[in-house]
Amino acid sequence: MWGNNGPVRARSKLASEVSSINRTPTQSTTAGPHEPGDPPAVQLDGVTHEYTAGSRLRSTGREPVRALADVSLSIASGEVVGIRGPSGSGKSTVLHAIAGLLVPTDGSVALFGTDLTDCSGRKRLRLRRQHVGIVFQHFHLLPSLSARANVALPLVQLGQSKATRRRRATALLERVGLGDRLTHRPGELSGGERQRVAIARSLSTDPDVIVADEPTGELDTATSESVLDVLTSVADDRAVVMASHDPTTLAWTDRTITLCDGSIVDETDQDEPRRARPAIGASGGDDP
């Protein structure tokens, strides 16, 4: 374990391998090192969101429920940000807004300066497909598909060839330590393995932003470390946003934002810098 130095010291071989994943499956990315003056990876300005009656299961059916109230935050590329708070505090809603899964009732959500709230649903979907990776608490893998097919799933919609999809998915699974589980179905994998498959899937399109909702919520401590190691190690040129109410999980972040009743009540930088990571793609010819 990482002992007193915290998880930032616990860089494993696995994490090193993950960080060497080539970021460009389709070569045409314009994403480069974050330059001063570039828009932040994620920018929320005055975001307020209310669930109205009938629009969500959480709706009371009487009065609108305010999930977020004037939330503003900025996340840079390469930064790992944790969001904590009690149940119902709005953690998941923030992640959903960043992922473009919902449009807040007020305020703006921008990815690299592009305001998602101004986009059509179609463009928002395309931006999510290409630039946002999502890791769910319950993994949400398709049970009828193998681990490799699950990882390759997002590449189908991008129109990648079967060979490219297989190559990319195989490389990602090998990098998260599941090279021997390529053809296993989710039902044949442990919880930690499933979450690593989910992380590999979130990386398959080489996204700029990864949102993870309680990524260790269903995992034991040892498995959680392994998953967090993988998840945080890919943040070199990406923004990673994790929602959790587990302090151990949040210790892996650079910054922690505390939500309560939909509002930010605290924002804390970690005392020690998260581990230094080699630039993603530094391995050069390791193109999956």
């Binding site: 460009t24 499956p25 389709t26 070569q27 045409s28 990315t29 314009t30 994403a31 570039d38 828009p39 969500r56 299961l57 998941s92 959903h96 992922a99 899964l101 919902l102 990815l111 690299f112 300066g113 592009t114 101004d118 986009c119 059509s120 179609r122 463009k123 979907l125 395309r126 931006l127 999510r128 497909r129 290409q130 630039h131 999502i134 769910f136 949400h140 398709l142 049970p143 009828s144 598909l145 097919a149 799933l153 997002p154 590449l155 189908v156 919609q157 991008l158 129109g159 990648q160 060839s161 079967k162 999809r165 899937r201 399109t205 080489d206 700029d208």
Partner: protein, 449 residues
């Protein structure tokens, strides 16, 4: 700048490049693979109930369609008795006269002997024979006359025994032999007179040399070549020798016997009429058709190739039967698919929501649902065809034992694609309901759950 164009500082650039058509093809093939994998998983997984139910329901319904369509085809075909190597057939214009299930009282060709003689004389016609089909009760000569169960019902096919080549109902005409003392030339032209041949009880023409039995008929009568059988007609009985026993060909195992048509008319009590269910011609097909059209301008003159489903349109009962079967199959399949697939899609919403969350467009998700449903339906239809053919064979075998008829259900190769098309149409009719459920999937509710 349009809504879909990137802004000046847009790092949210497209990651795809290259040939758009290639991407579209890759996406399409990928979606189909996902749908097939999901179908396989649903069929074999723990939640296989609904997919299996759809497959089974579609299979049962379409098996019924196959059988009923086969019945309709039998109405216009006549089953095994219509099997022949003749080139042209002349039949009463309203068709369907030889059906095993309704052919007894159907219209027949009149004055068949004279017309057949005219046809034989026509250029391009090598041979011709009238054909009359009647069920008869037959027993072995050695069987007890006091035992009613000794009689077996055969489908007797009356032909001109002077025709020395060709086959009818799978039985060779030359095996019947020509005992016709009245035959007046080598072409088999018949005199209308002949020496009388006293049988055991009744009176037959001298040319009624005997009869040719199918193997099934011989087995049921327990007779062999050279032995005699007794045909009963009302109070009269007639004794005939078995001149040949022919192995059953094809799938039709109905007990049939080839016999002189004149003798058969005597058995049927219509010896004075010259009736035929049809007249078969061998020779140049075009010439035979012209000669047939001249002889029977009001009759249907058709090549004797295998029955074509288009013939259904020439027979009202057959057409109505097949149409009702098709409509019932469509309605039952569509309703069952809609409700069951709708429930399956509703259960599957979390997975559809995940696809949406990771970037699958609505069209792609609906394409996956559509492909999975149509795959299920097509699988059910293939199973239904197999099941229907199996049931059809069973019905034919049962009918052969109980009623001594020819095929009650007739199959045509086109029934296979026809059944699959009906299933696909039913699936397409059912699609809007499950697709509407899929389209209404609440992504956040599903992924949060």
């Amino acid at each position: 700048m349009t809504d879909d164009e990137p802004g000046p500082n847009d790092r949210t650039r497209p990651r795809t490049h290259g040939d758009p058509d290639g991407r579209r093809r890759s996406r399409t093939s990928g979606l189909i693979r996902i749908a097939l994998a999901r179908f396989r998983g649903q069929l074999t997984g723990v939640q296989s109930g609904k997919s299996t139910a759809i497959v089974v329901a579609v299979a049962l319904t379409l098996a019924l369609l196959v059988v009923v369509t086969g019945l309709a085809l039998a109405l216009v075909d006549g089953g095994g008795t219509s099997q022949t190597d003749a080139d042209v057939s002349i039949e009463p214009a309203d068709g369907g006269s030889l059906s095993s299930v309704n052919g007894i009282e159907s219209p027949r060709l009149a004055n068949a002997t004279a017309h057949t003689a005219e046809l034989r004389a026509a250029d391009g016609v090598d041979r011709a024979t009238p054909v009359l089909v009647e069920p008869v009760a037959v027993r072995s000569e050695t069987a007890s006359t006091a035992d009613p169960s000794a009689y077996t019902r055969l489908l007797a096919i009356g032909v001109d025994p002077a025709v020395d080549a060709g086959s009818v109902a799978g039985l060779p005409l030359d095996a019947l032999g020509d005992g016709d003392d009245g035959a007046d030339d080598a072409d088999g032209r018949r005199s209308e007179s002949g020496a009388e041949n006293e049988s055991a009880a009744g009176t037959l023409g001298a040319r009624s040399a005997g009869l040719v039995l199918s193997e099934t008929a011989a087995n049921r009568l327990d007779v062999t070549v050279g032995e005699a059988v007794v045909v009963t007609s009302g109070t009269e009985t007639y004794q005939l020798p078995v001149t040949a026993v022919e192995p059953t060909t094809g799938d039709d195992e109905a007990p049939v016997a080839l016999v002189d048509r004149d003798a058969l008319m005597t058995f049927a009590g219509s010896a004075d009429a010259s009736l035929a269910d049809r007249i078969l011609l061998w020779g140049d097909e075009g010439a035979a058709e012209r000669a047939a059209a001249d002889a029977y301008p009001a009759a249907a003159v058709e090549p004797t190739d295998s029955i074509h489903p288009a013939a259904l349109f020439e027979n009202d009962l057959a057409l109505a039967t097949s149409l009702v079967a098709t409509i019932v199959a469509l309605v039952v399949c569509a309703l069952f698919i809609a409700t069951t697939a709708g429930m399956a899609v509703a259960e599957d919403r979390p997975q559809l929501a995940i696809l949406s969350a990771i970037g699958f467009s609505g069209a792609s998700r609906l394409a996956i649902v559509t492909t999975a449903i149509l795959t299920t339906v097509i699988g059910g239809s293939v199973l239904g065809v197999v099941l229907g053919i199996g049931v059809g064979y069973g019905v034919n075998a049962l009918a052969g034992v109980l009623f001594a008829t020819g095929s009650v259900v007739v199959f045509h190769p086109l029934v296979v694609p026809y059944t699959v098309v009906v299933a696909v149409v039913a699936g397409l009719l059912a699609l809007p309901y499950p697709l509407s459920i899929a389209a209404r999937t609440d992504v956040l509710a599903a992924v949060d759950g």
